[in-house]
């Protein structure tokens, strides 16, 4: 008999810990609270981050080419080639840097729910960007007039390629900004959802941050 009872005890299913110790007030224990698991950034944010990495590599290639020719030449700029206008471009640099500040203001205003002010700062950013392009266009016309063209020398070729690609990027960013501005005017962004504006701001700030590097390298070095 004793053997039987022992065998019965062993064959019984072990009691689950939770069943052995019932919850407060009896019954099933309440489900565990759901912790908010919101992602740290949106997919668009991550995609733009990767895209900016690719863009940085593209410009690194251009800078690498510039370094080969710049350090390979003993006289720079080459003889009979016009000098680049440092003063006007310096002012233009300040204009573009200011546009990054206004872009940041626009983003902050949206985050705080001040949409009217955000639209104003976006307009100012777009205006500064457009002004930068206009000044650069004028500067290019002057340089072409003085004989600096893409085919005039390696100097001209490098200048128009590097600065031209940057201008193209500013133009692209300006088109994107115009779309974002139109959306902001229609109140498409909210305090919680402003991803469109955020990624546009990232791209704009990348384009602005790139400019001082190119200015220092192509104009001053």
């Amino acid at each position: 008999m004793a053997k039987d009872s022992t065998a019965r005890k062993l064959s019984e299913a072990p009691l689950i810990e939770a069943v052995k110790r019932p919850g407060f007030g009896g019954g099933n224990p309440p489900p565990p609270p759901v912790r908010p698991t919101t992602p740290i950034g949106s997919n668009a944010w991550l995609a733009v981050l990767m895209f900016l990495g690719a863009e940085a590599m593209f410009f690194a290639g251009l800078i690498g080419a510039f370094l080969v020719f710049r350090l390979g030449s003993t006289i720079w700029p080459p003889p009979f080639q016009p000098r680049l206008p440092l003063g006007v471009t310096g002012v233009n640099t300040i204009i573009l840097l200011a546009s990054a500040v206004t872009m940041r203001f626009a983003l902050r205003r949206t985050q705080h729910g001040n949409f009217k002010s955000s639209v104003f700062w976006l307009s100012l950013t777009a205006s500064l960007g457009a002004l930068f392009l206009l000044i650069q266009g004028y500067e290019w016309l002057q340089l072409i007039h003085f004989g600096l063209t893409v085919s005039s020398s390696v100097y001209g070729g490098l200048f128009y390629t590097i600065i031209g690609f940057h201008a193209l990027h500013v133009f692209g960013a300006l088109v994107w900004l115009a779309v974002v501005w139109a959306k902001a005017r229609r109140r498409a962004f909210t305090k919680q959802n402003y991803v469109g504006l955020q990624v546009c701001s990232m791209y704009w700030i990348f384009v602005v941050a790139l400019w001082p590097v190119l200015y220092g390298l192509v104009y001053l070095y």
Partner: protein
């Protein structure tokens, strides 16, 4: 077939390693060691070598910064919400 390929590979290796260095093709042999063009190429190569690290470092830095900021935000939100402390979880209810 295998024997023929092996023989060919050995022949190519023998030719490559026994030929004088002067006949090796060099894409950037543009002048002497102190030539400014070589200096330009070297600077460019070093710059391009370091760029991927800079880019990847920046991306990782941005991710770490955003993650830390999100943690801080969450901690602030939990501190503001006193009711969150009273929520029972499975472990507490079992005691």
């Amino acid at each position: 077939m295998l024997r023929k390929n092996l023989l060919m590979a050995l022949t190519v290796a023998a030719v490559l390693f026994n030929t004088h260095a002067r006949v090796w093709a060099c894409a950037v042999c543009l002048g002497g060691a102190d030539d400014s063009t070589i200096e330009g190429y070297n600077a460019s190569v070093l710059f391009l070598m370091s760029t991927p690290y800079l880019v990847l470092g920046s991306i990782v830095g941005a991710l770490v910064f955003t993650y830390k900021r999100a943690l801080k935000k969450r901690a602030l939100a939990e501190a503001v919400e006193p009711g969150a402390q009273l929520v029972w979880n499975q472990e507490d209810s079992g005691r």
